[in-house]
């Protein structure tokens, strides 16, 4: 893994779920991993909610001090150069869309200086309404890149319909991801498949994703 991995994408594309899975996976493979929750947009369903999971798996969590409280404050009380100095591998989970990518702009110069050590991931779920095709996915990608002043270096294809994901959804997503990659010249970092009974026989080099963020009745 790269020293710094930034996870961007459309609202609800699965950024936090992917960031958490990637962090746990890398940690299990012996990497020293820190996840930084940089979502200043949505106080619900964020990586900071997964502290127990990270503790269990030896992943360090950095989150704004009011995350998970009733104080809906868009603050970041840490900086990326500081995290970089720790020598650990950093996964930064951004908020959704351009609005969520803005705070990254503050560190864009630093990240450009450390270009070879930085991965800027664009997570896309082609089952979402505004990223249902590659045109929509490109539009949101451009908005994010403009907001943070960084270019995406790779695409994470996270196409899924939640618990209703099946083989046809995965295959359809793979096709669209390849099309997006061809159109933009941005390579595919990985394609995901949810860890579900009905998905276990799907063939291909897929990154298995545990659905850690759930509702109380599931």
């Amino acid at each position: 893994m790269k020293k710094i991995t930034v996870v961007t994408g459309h609202y609800g594309s699965g950024k936090s779920t992917f960031a958490a899975n990637y962090a746990v996976r890398c940690s299990q493979q012996g990497e020293r991993v820190t996840v930084a929750d940089m979502d200043t947009v949505n106080p619900y369903y964020r990586t900071a909610d997964l502290k127990a999971l990270f503790d269990e798996n030896g992943v360090e969590l950095i989150a704004p001090r009011y995350a998970g409280s009733n104080l809906d404050m868009p603050i970041i009380d840490y900086d990326i150069p500081g995290l970089y100095e720790t020598g650990r591998n950093i996964i930064i989970d951004m908020g959704g869309d351009d609005a969520g990518a803005y705070p990254l702009g503050k560190f864009a110069a630093f990240l450009r200086e450390h270009k070879d050590e930085t991965e800027v991931l664009y997570v896309v779920n082609f089952c979402r309404c505004l990223t249902y095709d590659t045109d929509g996915a490109q539009e949101i990608l451009k908005e994010i890149e403009n907001a943070c002043g960084l270019k995406a270096t790779a695409v994470v294809n996270n196409s899924n319909l939640g618990f209703e994901t099946d083989e046809s959804i995965i295959n359809e997503g793979l096709k669209k991801a390849e099309k997006l990659s061809a159109e933009t010249g941005i390579p595919i970092f990985c394609s995901t498949v949810p860890v579900l009974e009905k998905c276990k026989d799907i063939k291909g080099e897929l990154f298995p994703v545990n659905i850690y963020i759930r509702n109380v009745w599931n």
Partner: protein
């Protein structure tokens, strides 16, 4: 992508469905946990010839809805609890002018500034006191992301049909959670609105949109006429889902997000041999009293579950004519009950009421 299944947040599904239902004007103001509705509308409206406007306040937004609805256009605003309090004056004016429009309340915990976590503490606000004066709103309480989409369409249709404002009363859980959703074909939004203020062009008399009456007798006449309309709505509109109620000894009732959790608890109780069932009101006004009334002879006890200190329970007691005990279980402040907690309540009732 007309009939494709998509993974959406409740807030987004509601916004997309509103656009497809012909909503041409959206006026909003950000507040957690409904901000995605405004964010989605800001991206979507310019692409379909609609208007998105972030107003200077919630009060301004509802008055813009009032203006747009007066011209016969389908208009909507959305907010969360404290923001809906601010809108109450404008809602009353819209009701007083018989203006069809849709107001969305993605509830959060109160009172006051309260918190940003989900709650169902605005039942009274929605069904009893959405503003000053004698009036009601049609109130729908969806319970899934699919229903967030389906019932906003219905809210527009029924608002137009009965010429009155309609509210979607939902909460932070449903607004933020993601589920697959499929959009049905858009409804016919071309209702004849011969009352609308669209310019008389010297071809007809003025259409005046107004809630001020100079003579008390005229205001009384208008109020009585509106209540005759409400009688029709009460007869035609109530909607509820009854689940395993036919042989149920204990009926658990809740709406919206609570109903999701209640259903899990009812299934768990059945697995233990307790005959539990569920009534889930879909319209909160008019309240689906009939769904309860027809269970009173066979059901032994009711349990009302809300994310509040107990508001809908009043309607449950009225609907069952207080002939059976109606107990209450709720969490507030943004805390969400678990299926296990509700199951424990059902067990206790089974022990104490089913002798």
């Amino acid at each position: 992508m007309a009939n494709e299944r998509m993974l959406m947040k409740g807030n987004e599904a509601l916004a997309e469905a509103a656009v497809r239902a012909g909503c041409k004007c959206y006026f909003g103001y950000p507040i957690t946990p409904q901000t995605e509705i405004a964010a989605y509308m800001s991206k979507r409206m310019p692409k379909c010839g609609g208007v998105f406007l972030q107003a200077e306040s919630e009060i301004a937004a509802i008055n813009m809805v009032y203006g747009a609805a007066a011209t016969g256009v389908r208009a909507m605003t959305s907010s969360s609890s404290p923001g809906v309090s601010l809108k109450s004056e404008g809602i009353s004016y819209a009701a007083g002018c018989d203006l069809p429009c849709v107001i969305v309340n993605v509830q959060r915990a109160g009172p006051g500034l309260g918190g940003i976590q989900p709650a169902q503490n605005d039942y009274y606000l929605a069904t009893r006191a959405a503003g000053h004066g004698d009036f009601f709103l049609i109130v729908y309480a969806p319970s899934s992301v699919q229903e967030m989409a389906d019932y906003v369409v219905k809210a527009f249709d029924m608002a137009d049909k009965y010429r009155m404002p309609a509210m979607i009363l939902t909460d932070g859980v449903l607004g933020q959670m993601m589920e697959p959703v499929v959009f049905s074909d858009p409804s016919d939004s071309t209702v004849n609105k011969d009352w609308a203020a669209t310019g008389h062009k010297n071809e007809r008399k003025h259409n005046i949109i107004n809630s001020l009456y100079l003579q008390p007798e005229e205001l009384e006449k208008s109020n009585i006429a509106r209540y005759k309309k409400y009688d029709i709505v009460k007869a035609e509109l109530p909607e509820a889902e009854s689940y395993l109620t036919e042989d149920a000894d204990i009926i658990v009732t809740g709406y919206g997000a609570s109903a999701r959790i209640v259903r899990s608890a009812v299934n768990a109780a059945r697995a233990e041999g307790i005959k539990a069932g569920m009534i889930r009101p879909i319209t909160l006004w008019p309240f689906p009293a009939e769904a309860y009334a027809k269970t009173v002879d066979t059901c032994k006890a009711y349990l009302c579950v809300e994310l509040s200190m107990g508001q809908m329970i009043d309607d449950v007691k009225l609907a069952t004519s207080c002939r059976r005990p109606v107990r209450f279980f709720g969490r507030t402040g943004g805390v969400i009950h678990t299926p296990a907690e509700i199951l424990e309540q059902i067990r206790t009732i089974a022990k104490e009421e089913l002798k």
